[in-house]
Amino acid sequence: MVTLTIDNQSITVPKGTTVLDAAEKLGIVVPHFCYHEALGAVGACRLCAVYIETEQSKGVQMSCLVEAAEGMVVNTLEPTAVELRQHVIEWLMTNHPHDCPVCDEGGECQLQDMTIAGGQSIRRYRGKKRTYSNQELGPFIEQEMNRCIQCYRCVRTYRDYFGGTDFGVMGSRNRVFFGRFEPGRLESPFSGNLADVCPTGVFTDKTYRFKSRYWDLQEAESICPHCSLGCATIPGGRYRELQRVRSGTSKEVNGHFICDRGRFGYGYVNHPDRLRVPRINGEECDRHEALAAINDKIEKLGGEAVGFLGSSRTALETNAMIKSWAEQSGSKSVCFECHPQRDNAARSWVALRGDRGRSLADIRRSDFILLLGSDPLNEAPMLAAAIRQAESSGSQVAVIDARPVKLPFKAAHLVVRPEKLSTIIRALKSGAFDNFERHEQLFFEGVLKSIKKAERPILVGGGDLLQAEGVAALCELMAQLPEAGGDFVHLSGPNSYGAAMLSGAAPDFETILDDIITGKIRALVCVESDPFADYPDRKRLQEALSKLEFLVVADYINGPAAAKADIFLPTAAPAESAGTYINCEGRMQRFKPVLKPGEPLRITGDGGHPPRRFSHETPGDQPRSAAEFIANLVGQPVTINDLRQQIAADDDRFSGLDQPEQGMLCRANGELPTTVNREDVPGKGDDLLHLLPVADLFGSGPLLSYCSALDAVRSAPCVVLSESDAASIGVANGENVSLQTAEGKLAVEVRIDAKALPGLVLIPQTGADAFLPGGVMIPCSIRKNGARDE
């Protein structure tokens, strides 16, 4: 710790803190451009000048580069320092275009702020301005290079932080250029962060282009609903339309950045087909009418005949309401995830993880990371970014997976069949590798050696591939790690963890389906969950649900279940309601409403101006948060805060839920599910291959297919084949084939991957009705297009 004096106030900071950070702790903002908390200092912009009075480094210095020292005296308002800052701004502005009115950064532009703060409001330079040609960078990011002030934040983010390789700095002297080496779509799945880090309007969010000014946006702190990491986000909207998402800051989780899935996947809130009026048998009706009809029917059938289904994308408060509603109506069939394998994986993680679960911040600091059945870029993108931070500060990374996992850094990689993962993890625990091949044995020995050497090793698992058994094995292996080591398992939905905690040992959706088939359950209530989209075995589901007498669906997306519902209730999207998600490390994180429910003006006004009549009604304002609907149904209207208090009081694992601090960890654990034995590996026929559905960056998750901004980047349906399988079928890369499964035929494109395993066909989840990852493998065969079917 060192104590220094800044502007006559003294402060004690840890050794190594920069003067700029120390000043900020005192609330003194030293103007700066190139310094960024996550990226560090490079001293490129020369704006952060301060005057240091004491001997060690007397004179005008860049505060972002000088470390605070004992007894240092700093003056940020010393006239030469102030003058230097003013000149720096003036010279940065010499080439800056006269653009603010047509620049999307205007209003939240650091250059504008600093120019005003520097007092440099008149341009004295009369020479000509340098210009550049822009590049077309794809559907997410707009470039206007004339506005650049050469702070290098963009390259440091894109290349140094995220490991992107297609973007960088070019040119020399005063014509340095920041862009792609060739025009084209930015390849990194973290490209959206350019819009956040660039302090000027060079890189802006293309999906938000010209939509609003910052000061007109309604914004609120929120949590990303697209994977189980729960990154902090700040969505913003105007005229009843969600218009953009920018990154929030959460030290323990995402830091300062988010991935493109979280940033550009917001269109489901504005979707034109979203149903916004309650319906009975397809006919629009009043909310109270619909609620009364639900209550009548449940009363008539009796509680035991009703199944309740919540989901892992529903807020904890809503799931808790569903649980108490089920209890109140006398039903024992309540479940919070309609994908049974994912449900069981989540429950087993929650039950067995012990108290050495690690956060993304811990992963960034780790010195050995073993990825087991985890494909971060496709399943939980910011995890890849976190691992890269560890890797670039010297950590080793090893991957054991069934997929050719692509990562933005170097990692040792072993490809194995998915069903072998649990066996491998148990072998790593016991150290007996006799049943494995030589190259596998060598790999495992290397892994064990690295674990032994490391101080803070972390095991990272993916719930989808590991499934309940693998997760349990991983938790056991973790117990052997050194004290500072730990584990981290990512699940499927933003609230999978919370859902698993609430489920405890209750039966899973498979049991509910059995009961529906035998006629024990005659009605099903789906709250923000859609078994037609999210249950892996479509055939069995069809069979079961056709027996149902009564289906209630409450949702904010217009999925396949909504069309089949007897009664439909429109619920508020996460951006329109308050709630809590528990991320995959057990962190309770709140999101706040950004907008009130309503149909976007862009839709009601058909792109034109607002209506020319006065009205007290807002079009499409009928959706309510699902918790509110249920509260009305059970006849005890409560506010979200009452609800939180009640949940925290009823179950002390959730204590702290009602406290306003963001991101408290849940206490203690859940229970193990009652295990259901299922066949894991399908039988092997003659030319039978095994189809393994896997997650896809822009295709996975129930919400992404409703986001039109992602249409341009969604991959076409394809299968990944090994070289030998491709050769025996006789297809080349990029060719079309037909994929035959029990569900029918599908035309897909072939991608050959040198790392893919023979006998295993990977199919990325690319759309709403694709195969669902996380389940069992499916027997399939592949025929070249044009080949005759036998």
């Binding site: 275009p97 006269h98 653009d99 603010c100 009115p101 047509v102 205007g106 209003g107 000509k128 301005k129 340098r130 210009t131 550049y132 040609s133 822009n134 206007e144 004339n146 506005r147 070019m170 040119g171 020399s172 002297r173 014509r175 340095v176 250029f177 282009r209 010209f210 939509k211 609003s212 000014r213 000061w215 007109d216 005229y239 792109g607 034109g608 101006h609 607002p610 020319r612 009549r613 006065f614």
Partner: protein, 177 residues
């Protein structure tokens, strides 16, 4: 005694003032038969002007709506195929406008201007809600020279780097010093 004089004076003086005006020319005019021309900087009905090349000046930057103390301006920006930013719709609610002129002062493109046309009363409030079609005139108003896009760097009227105060786009792959 002094009070008495004061009272007499106070009673007579006003009569004198009144009498003296009988012989002066009246200032009252017979509105609406007779009308007076206000000064050119008079602040009344607001218009949207065009640049000397005939294009809409407004770039929908939202600055006027931000400056407006009564929030009576609203708009939506959009982009046309040449990259020109313009207002897809633009609305001023004159029943709320207090004619303070802050919008005109905030406007960076000289698009929004105050005119001396003060006769905009109406019995139906909705008739006071003016859309872009109602506001847009075919003239530059108080300035017929300025075209924002001839100074902005985004290359809408001229090709990129083609404005008077700009140099040609740099060749970033050149190695010349």
């Amino acid at each position: 005694m002094r009070d008495l004089w004061r009272d007499i004076k106070g009673t007579l003086e006003p009569f004198w003032v009144t009498l003296s005006y009988i012989f002066k020319k009246p200032v009252t005019i017979q509105y609406p038969e007779q009308k007076r021309t206000p000064y050119s900087r008079y602040r009344a009905r607001i218009v949207l002007t065009r640049d000397p090349d005939g294009g809409e000046r407004c770039v929908a930057c939202y600055l006027c709506s931000a400056a407006c103390p009564v929030d009576c301006i609203s708009m939506q920006a959009a982009e046309d195929e040449n990259g020109r930013r313009y207002a897809a719709w633009f609305r001023i609610n004159f029943s709320r406008c207090i004619f303070c002129g802050l919008c005109a002062e905030a406007c960076p493109t000289m698009a929004i201007q105050m005119t001396p046309d003060y006769e905009i009363c109406n019995r139906d409030l909705l008739n006071l809600v003016h859309e872009k079609e109602d506001l847009l005139i075919d003239d530059g108003g108080k300035d017929n020279e300025y075209n924002f896009y001839r100074h902005a760097g985004i290359g809408v009227v001229n090709p990129r780097g083609g404005n008077e105060d700009e140099t040609e786009p740099e060749d970033v792959k050149s190695l010349l010093p």
